[in-house]
Amino acid sequence: MADVAVAHGQGEHPETTTGLPHTKLAMWLFLASECLLFGALISTYVLYRGRSVEGPFPHDVFDIPYTSVSAFVLLASSLTMVLALSAAQEGDKGRTRLWLLATAVLGMVFVGGQVYEFTVFYNEGLKLSTNLFGTTFYVLTGFHGVHVTVGILMLLSLVGLSYAERLPADPSFPIEMVGLYWHFVDIVWIVIFTVVYLVPTPNPGPPGA
């Protein structure tokens, strides 16, 4: 029957062998592969935790209350994301745009907060090249931040397309897809927040020191 080999378009999915839409299957496979990506970065951080030969060390620079606010912000953005999807599924264009925009704004607050945090650390002497902590911290959180930024771009694009009336009448599918990506970026942060910020770093120095 499937004589339409065409990618999905307007809220209607061509028949697939599993009954599952191509894009959603692809998105979950992609997210599964991203687990391997962030796993490597997080493992590198964990491996090198406490092995910096010289400071600054985590306890010298971390501002846990500040970062906790960031964590709340990103979690809130996951909530607004899922509310956007709900609104889309109910056909409420206005609220869909509102919640999508809210998600994007919260994301921007998060990224802005990170940029500020990095600037403070930098001024306190923690650069990429300073020590293992700088190396692993900036690269791990930087990769995450880039992912968030890409997500913000996608969210703003959805909002823009919605206002330009270029989204399908039922836009819940593309919103759901962007939402899956966005939530993934949030759960990576849940892990990073715990592993990097909350779990205390052992006494600084190389192993055996």
Partner: protein, 111 residues
């Protein structure tokens, strides 16, 4: 502008593909969001206490895992969706966990 449209079950089905019945309502999502916020607050509070690392670290991990699961199962809808999506994700997640655990062990990261 604001369009009020009641979606038929078929339309709802078409828009997501692979949805089982049972869709959290916005209220339930907000409830989950609040739980997430509370868990985060607990995490931060626990991190500031003076308890030994042997208790602190598993507690922090446990809280993180609960938050992770809440987002994945409810916000990402895996609890209600076709099991095949979950299969992919579980393979990636568990594969990553196992492989990197082995690498860290071989570096004696935990000894």
């Amino acid at each position: 502008m604001l369009e009020e449209r009641q979606e038929t079950p078929e339309q709802q089905h078409a828009s997501g593909g692979g949805h089982a019945a049972g869709h959290p309502s916005p209220k339930e999502y907000v409830r989950i969001g609040l739980i997430l916020a509370v868990l985060t607050a607990i995490e931060v509070a626990v991190a500031y206490t003076d308890i030994s690392h042997a208790i602190l670290i598993p507690t922090l991990f446990f809280l993180a895992i609960v938050k992770f699961a809440l987002v994945v199962l409810w916000f990402m809808h895996l609890k209600f969706d076709d099991k095949r999506y979950a299969r992919f994700f579980v393979i990636g997640l568990s594969g990553a966990a196992i492989l990197y655990l082995v690498v860290l062990i071989s570096f004696r990261a935990f000894s």
